[in-house]
């Protein structure tokens, strides 16, 4: 006989947005699924108090709210908080809950720099470049990670910095990543950044100083050409072409209008993430207390 997992509580009319990743949830089951995959973010802190209010007011789980409220005391074992939350419904079986909590325990016992590196990776994947950089810096600070992990942390930090248009910093980090891990992928990103900010010739010149093989050089050129081609087919390139066309026809006012709209759209997408970095410098993120 087949058994079903019956949902508990209500579906929220409004979503709850996790501040770290920006992921939105609407139900208890989504909350369980999200938390089980993001336990790494709660090694030194619990989810914020607003989540408890959401559980009570939007999901209608008053009993769970009361239970969790008692477990938010920093002196208490955080494991109890998550155990109580997962055991409220039938979303996870007892065996699955044990596995999640065991994994959580293992994460807690993982060396601190590695924890920070993994957290950075998770945040980068969620599109939170500023927060990711913060954790990569925290991971690299003690200089205790192995060469491969250090290289990977520099590489990913460089990717995050590129997303924030901090291209000069990113170039330095890609080079450091290559120096630690020896992965040509980091070198390609470096090559691409130079090609993008300066020109192909300069990029080629730079690669010569790294003494990469001709085969690798050819592969970099081909990959970059493919990226450039993909960009030419994108909607962004279409807008760019339109602006250039209007300028050629001396329709300056129209071109400027489109350009302004184009910039505003880009700012809308990137500015919150870029501004977040400044906020982080003042507010800070949950990290291990010294």
């Amino acid at each position: 006989m087949r058994e079903s997992i019956i949902c508990v509580g209500r579906t929220g009319k409004e979503p709850y947005r996790f501040p770290e990743t920006g992921v939105q949830i609407f139900s208890y089951e989504e909350l369980c699924y999200y938390l089980s995959g993001h336990m790494l973010l709660y090694l030194y802190t619990l989810p914020e108090e607003e989540l408890l209010l959401y559980i009570r007011d939007e999901l209608g789980l008053e009993k769970l709210y009361r239970q969790l409220s008692k477990l938010t005391d920093p002196g208490r074992d955080q494991m109890k908080y998550f155990a109580a939350l997962f055991r409220e419904g039938n979303y996870f079986s007892e065996e699955e809950i044990r596995e999640i909590l065991d994994e959580y325990r293992d994460l807690k016992n993982t060396p601190y720099p590695v924890q920070c590196k993994w957290t950075g990776d998770m945040l980068l994947e969620a599109g939170r470049a500023s927060m990711a950089i913060h954790y990569y810096k925290e991971a690299l600070k003690p200089e205790t990670m192995g060469k491969m992990d250090t290289g990977a942390a520099y590489h990913n930090m460089a990717v995050a910095k590129s997303r924030l248009f901090r291209l000069e910093d990113a170039k330095i980090d890609f080079v450091k990543a290559y120096q630690y891990a020896g992965d040509e992928e980091s070198l390609f990103y470096y090559y691409a950044l130079i090609a993008f900010t300066e020109n192909m010739e300069k990029a080629k010149e730079e690669m010569e100083s790294f003494k990469i093989s001709e085969l690798s050089q050819e592969s970099f050129e081909n990959r970059f050409a493919a990226i450039a081609e993909a960009y030419h087919c994108s909607s962004l390139a279409e807008k760019q072409k339109k602006i250039e066309y209007l300028l050629q026809r001396e329709k300056t006012e129209e071109a400027e209008n489109i350009y302004e709209r184009f910039v505003r759209e880009l700012q809308k997408d990137f500015r919150p993430e870029m501004e977040m970095e400044d906020d982080l410098l003042t507010a800070g993120l949950p990290v291990r207390k010294e």
Partner: protein, 371 residues
Amino acid sequence: MEYVMGELETRKFAGIDLGKYAVQLSVYDEAAAETTEESFPLPEKEQEDYIASGLFYIRRYMEANHINWEMYHGVYFTMEDTSRQCRKHLEELLDEDFKKRHSVNVITHFRSFVEYVFHQERAVWDRNTLLLDYSENVLRYILVEQIRPSRQKAYRAVLKEMNLEEQGIHEDDENRDYHFSRLMKQFLVKNPAHIIFLTGRGFEGNWMKKTLTYLCAGRRVFMGQNLYANGACLLGLGPVQLMEDGMLLMQGPDMVYHTIGILTQESGKAKYVPITSIGREWYNTVGTVDIILDKSQKVEFFYHNTKENEMESAACEIRDLPARPPKTTRIRIEVQFTAQTEGVILLKDMGFGSMFPGTGKVTVFPFKLIS
């Protein structure tokens, strides 16, 4: 400092019995915990379309007393004939002003009586209770009895009909009282009852002497024409818990006696969870539940026949869902009946929030229950 005191809101529920010969209006006032009753006999020429006529008298009464539909928190109709045609006719006759504020709730006389009984103090329903409805020389009776006297008690309400012509009882017969009292003696030996309600035009006319003497011996007997309207207005107070718990089996036309449910895990053990409950008319029986699909895209339903205590199952496969990880598909299940033992289960893909958006695709799974 000035205090403004708001008027204390009290809820009122109306029950309207659209009978062929008269329309009854009962209004339950929750604050006073009392019911007020009105009755409007229908002239013979207005009896053909008694639904329209009944509504006309109700509207006239409301206008004369400056009452509007807004003043009631719930309005519930009850009729002897609750066929699709009659329900549709009533719905057509109700104006937009009514529909803006209320949904059209129609229940059978059978259900009205049972609601009335189970909204009374325990003494009224904990022992056998009988309703005799005598009209046009037909005796309809409803017997409410305890069928499981264990810790978790269960009850059964049965609706049956007896043609009195076949029993040798005629309306114009001068010995009707004698024959009727004999019939009652035989009947009550087989169906003992401690409380008896009498209703219907057949009991009018002061012809009962022997019958009443016998019925009243050691029993509490009540007589009135507003029983169904009273039961209907009490629906506003909320469902009878025994009915919700599936502990009240209603045996009569249109009444659902199967529950549709699914199995789930509770403390490591399998547990049957009904989605619909028994004891209501099929057109008033709906149920909904949200589930999460695990590795499989199949949902197994279990149909519990509460009359025979038999269970059967059927599996429904949901096709063409987008590929998602296990446990990231929420399915909203809605059970609707289209007849006493038939209906459809609708399974809607709700996705999983913003992480895995739903397609809104609905799978229709018809069911036919073994009766």
